[in-house]
């Protein structure tokens, strides 16, 4: 590592920067913070929303939604195999369904904030074949402004996840299931 | 109100009827415009080619020619845009500032200064409106599809006020025609292709008369229409609004 480059870059930046301008204040634009809006948007981007009649219904609902699910892991299920930061890659690669608690839902874009603490393993949300995020509907906000305003911090790692992994890199044809989860269901309760 | 008519060089030489229609239309609206004979060009062809410096004498000549008028009106939004935006290279004397502020595209002048929103007359044809980029995005004479789905604008309103007219609903309401000044020869192939695509949109949607308020775009589109021998007549909006029949 070259401290010479660091010093040169910082000196050139200082010398060449324009006259200081002020940092704008970003208003709260309000907006619709409803489960209906969240559902409509998420459905539009390839995800789906299922209402859960309380967390007690999680297991039967999952059985109904994923009758053929293979290896399923979740911090919310007592029956789940243990997955943590030390779980080897080859074990992760065999996971079919991950059910993780989401923290904040964003109505304008269908995204759910998933912090590292809720992931079991950082790679789990993308390496699993199918992903379910469980979200308290009262945690739905209208916009990304409101979502960021509610985040205490972003931890070591965290992601807003909006729908299943997808690509349109071949002729702009939308294909669901690029490298990450092939499907995303948000269970609202 | 002392109004000067600026007839851009290519209109003067190739489309004198557009200059005549502009003069007569203004006359009908109660404005007698003078044509100062010493006028030449706004300098845009040079500046757009990277030779702004060589255009400075033309800018100065323009300012000297028009400084004694309250308004300078031209049937070409592109030239007006150039005067307003790029004459910032001159020392900003009172004359320069005055001329920059008083330059108006004909349709803008009719709409904003004369506050005319409707005109008498009939034009029973299907008319395709070509929005010039400099008039639309530069002088804000029409809504932009980048901002809003609502297709509205000064010329659209004026044309719509004519009896019997039907405006073409284009697939792409405001895509550039590809003229671009010297771009039309330095990037001739792209320029032509853009023009052909624009014309195809008009053909597809039934345009009989193609019009606009910037003759430079129309010169390019007319060249393509005539080469392809298409049954489309190209007219400057001043001609239509002045009551010329297609």
């Amino acid at each position: 590592m070259s401290t010479a480059s660091r010093d040169r870059i910082l000196a050139a930046t200082k010398a060449n920067k324009p006259t200081e301008t002020s940092l704008p204040t970003v208003p709260d634009f309000g907006g619709e913070a409803t489960a209906e809006r969240f559902t409509a948007v998420l459905t539009g981007i390839g995800g789906s929303v299922v209402w859960l009649d309380g967390l007690a219904q999680l297991e039967p609902t999952l059985r109904q939604l994923f009758p053929a699910a293979g290896r399923t892991v979740s911090p919310l299920l007592a029956t789940s195999a243990a997955v943590d930061a030390h779980t080897p890659t080859e074990v992760l690669a065999g996971i079919d369904l991950a059910v993780l608690p989401g923290e904040i839902g964003v109505a304008e874009n269908g995204a759910v904030w998933l912090p590292e603490a809720n992931m079991m393993h950082r790679a789990l949300p993308t390496i699993t074949q199918h992903l379910v995020l469980v979200l308290d509907h009262r945690r739905i906000v209208a916009t990304m402004h409101q979502a960021y305003a509610q985040l205490p911090n972003t931890g070591g790692y965290g992601a807003f996840i909006a729908g299943p992994s997808k690509t349109a890199d071949i002729e702009q044809s939308l294909v669901i299931g690029a490298h990450g989860a092939r499907s995303l269901v948000v269970l609202l309760y | 109100m002392k109004v000067a008519l600026f007839v851009p060089c290519y209109i003067d030489q190739f489309y004198p009827q557009v200059g005549v229609a502009t003069l007569q239309l203004l006359e009908k609206l109660g404005v007698t415009a003078h044509f100062p004979a010493q006028q030449t060009c706004c300098g845009q062809p040079l500046a757009n080619s990277g030779c702004e410096h060589d255009a400075l004498p033309i800018y100065k000549h323009f300012v000297e020619t028009f400084r004694d008028y309250d308004y300078v009106v031209a049937p070409s939004g592109s030239c007006v845009y150039h005067v307003r935006k790029h004459f910032d290279k001159l020392d900003q004397t009172a004359d320069v500032q005055h001329v920059r502020g008083s330059a108006y595209d004909l349709i803008d002048f009719i709409s904003t200064v004369l506050k005319v929103e409707a005109l008498p007359g009939a034009f029973p044809h299907k008319v395709g409106l070509h929005l010039s980029c400099h008039g639309q995005r530069g002088l804000h004479q029409a809504n932009e599809s980048e901002m809003t789905p609502v297709r509205d604008g000064q010329l659209r309103r004026l044309l719509a006020s004519l009896d019997g007219i039907e405006l073409t609903n284009l697939n792409r309401n405001d895509e550039c025609c590809g003229f671009g000044g010297t771009f039309c020869v330095s990037e001739a192939a792209i320029s032509a292709r853009m023009g052909q695509d624009r014309v195809a949109d008009h053909v597809l949607n039934g345009t009989q008369v193609l019009t606009g308020s910037d003759m430079s775009c129309l010169m390019h589109l007319e060249g393509i229409v005539r080469r392809a021998r298409l049954p489309i007549k190209v007219m400057h909006a001043a001609e239509i609004l002045n009551g010329l029949t297609a």
Partner: protein, 466 residues
């Protein structure tokens, strides 16, 4: 070779040009629908522009703040003056790990620095994991778009490439099946990856974290399985506060593809215990651009690609016609800063229609900068001599009423009298290859006007007709 000659080649296949134009226009229309649906969209553009302006005006301070916060998070921060230093730093990190298998998610900066060929030359396997990037990596081509790197290819082209490299059935061109084949192929690469390289969409000074936006999830999968993450960023990626992301994440995907947000908006802040995270901060001409008052706003770019999708020239000439890492309007204002001679034709590859400026989510005055680069190039004698001298000549003619009048008369007479085959000769007249010249009238407007009775000296006040 200039832009026009490369565009000529692209345009030879008229049907493919139509397809390319329509495919990108489709993306522009998706963007429009997404933009219209957000009432405060124009306000957000203004805010984003203001935040970026402010950041540039304190960039050295924010860079220091970012570095300190990142280091406090246990991240190694490196500084690279140019592409060579950037590549050397990365190779060094890889060698320290004894790694040979690298997975990389999309990063225009590493394209700009030609990192892949450099690593491959040094015996390192580097696999691009974004689907579009992987396709062009197989084909040994450069990306033709910053968001849609393989947008110049048809599904049949991709099918052929995958048949050769992944053993898919010959003639297979179904995007769903081709994507599935890539998924299986790349899974193995992800699982085996030792070092993951990613780009950076935003670097937050306040937290020292970086944000990476993807739809495929390839950055997350690669980074979270590998022992080492190297994130590469230009100095202009900084934003001050975490909450500023509210503005930028609302603008980025809507502008880029018309999605309300990218599928993954991932915040990488601290490495796990036992793992490493490195951030390489790169200049490579950016501080020089910062010092050009007319052009520094180009550093506000968030790489959404909207200016490409809307550009009528880009859509009809393809990304490769720009011969620069970042094509399209934004590339045409970034490239002369890097090599004025090589890229001298790019600022002229535009009609200055201004659509790029109007879609830009951070309000870069792209078309004005194109115009200004033309002046810089003119002054530096980087425009064709024939053009330069004809413009000098025109300047003289048009500054004089008399010379102008005579010239016009002569031209019109010549047009009227000379045969069509001569006035429209394609070899001499680029206009006439696809267009008729205007019909030359017998008299000019000024000649007509001179014959009219002179108007009264005091014109009447305007009247609105009944």
């Amino acid at each position: 070779m200039n832009h026009a000659t490369r565009a000529d080649k692209f345009l030879l296949d008229a049907d493919r040009t139509t397809w390319h134009d329509e495919t990108l226009w489709f993306v522009r229309e998706k963007r429009d629908r997404a933009v219209y649906a957000v009432p405060e969209f124009q306000e957000l553009r203004e805010l984003a522009s203001g935040i970026k302006d402010h950041t540039l005006s304190r960039l050295d301070l924010y860079l220091r703040e970012f570095e300190a916060a990142a280091q406090a998070n246990g991240v190694h921060v490196h500084w690279a003056a140019d592409a060579a230093e950037h590549n050397a730093i990365i190779l060094d990190i890889i060698r320290q790990q004894g790694a040979t298998r690298i997975v990389k998610s999309k990063s225009m900066l590493t394209e700009e620095c030609h990192l892949n060929p450099y690593l491959i030359k040094h015996g390192i396997e580097v696999v691009d994991t974004d689907l579009g990037e992987r396709i062009i990596q197989f084909r040994e081509e450069a990306p033709s778009h910053i968001v849609l790197p393989a947008i110049h290819l048809k599904k049949e082209d991709v099918g052929e490439t995958f048949h050769i490299h992944l053993g898919t059935e010959k003639g297979e061109s179904d995007p769903q099946r081709l994507t599935e084949a890539a998924r299986q192929h790349l899974r193995a690469k992800f699982l085996a990856g030792q070092v993951a390289i990613s780009g950076v969409n935003f670097a937050v000074a306040e937290t020292g974290g970086v944000v990476v936006c993807t739809n495929e999830g390839n950055a997350d999968l690669g980074v979270n399985l590998a022992a080492v993450h190297i994130a590469c960023m230009g100095i202009e990626k900084i934003i001050p506060r975490l909450t500023d992301l509210g503005v930028f994440t609302r603008l980025l995907a809507r502008s880029a593809t018309g999605q309300p947000v990218t599928t993954y908006t991932s915040h990488f802040t601290k490495p796990l215990p036992g793992r490493e995270m490195h951030i390489v901060i790169v200049d490579n001409g950016r501080t020089q651009q910062l010092g050009r008052p007319d052009f520094r706003a180009s550093l506000k770019c968030i790489r959404c690609g909207a200016c490409m999708n809307t550009c009528p020239v880009y859509r009809r000439s393809g990304g490769h016609s720009y011969d620069f890492t970042v094509p399209g309007p934004i590339g045409a204002i970034l490239s002369p800063n890097i090599d004025m001679k090589k890229h001298s034709s790019l600022p002229f590859a535009s009609t200055l229609c201004g659509s790029c400026t109007d879609v830009c989510p951070v309000k870069i005055d792209i078309h004005t900068q194109l115009y200004k680069w033309r002046q810089v190039l003119g002054e530096a004698n980087e425009i064709p001599a024939s053009k330069k001298w004809s413009m000098k000549f025109m300047g003289r003619v048009l500054a004089s009423t008399r010379v102008y009048g005579l010239g016009g008369q002569f031209a019109r007479r010549a047009l009227r009298l000379l045969p069509h085959s001569l006035t429209h000769a394609k070899s001499m007249n680029a206009w006439a290859v696809a267009r008729e010249l205007p019909e030359a009238p017998r008299q000019s407007f000024r000649e007509w006007y001179a014959k009219q009775p002179q108007p009264v000296s005091s014109p009447p006040q305007p009247k609105v007709p009944a």
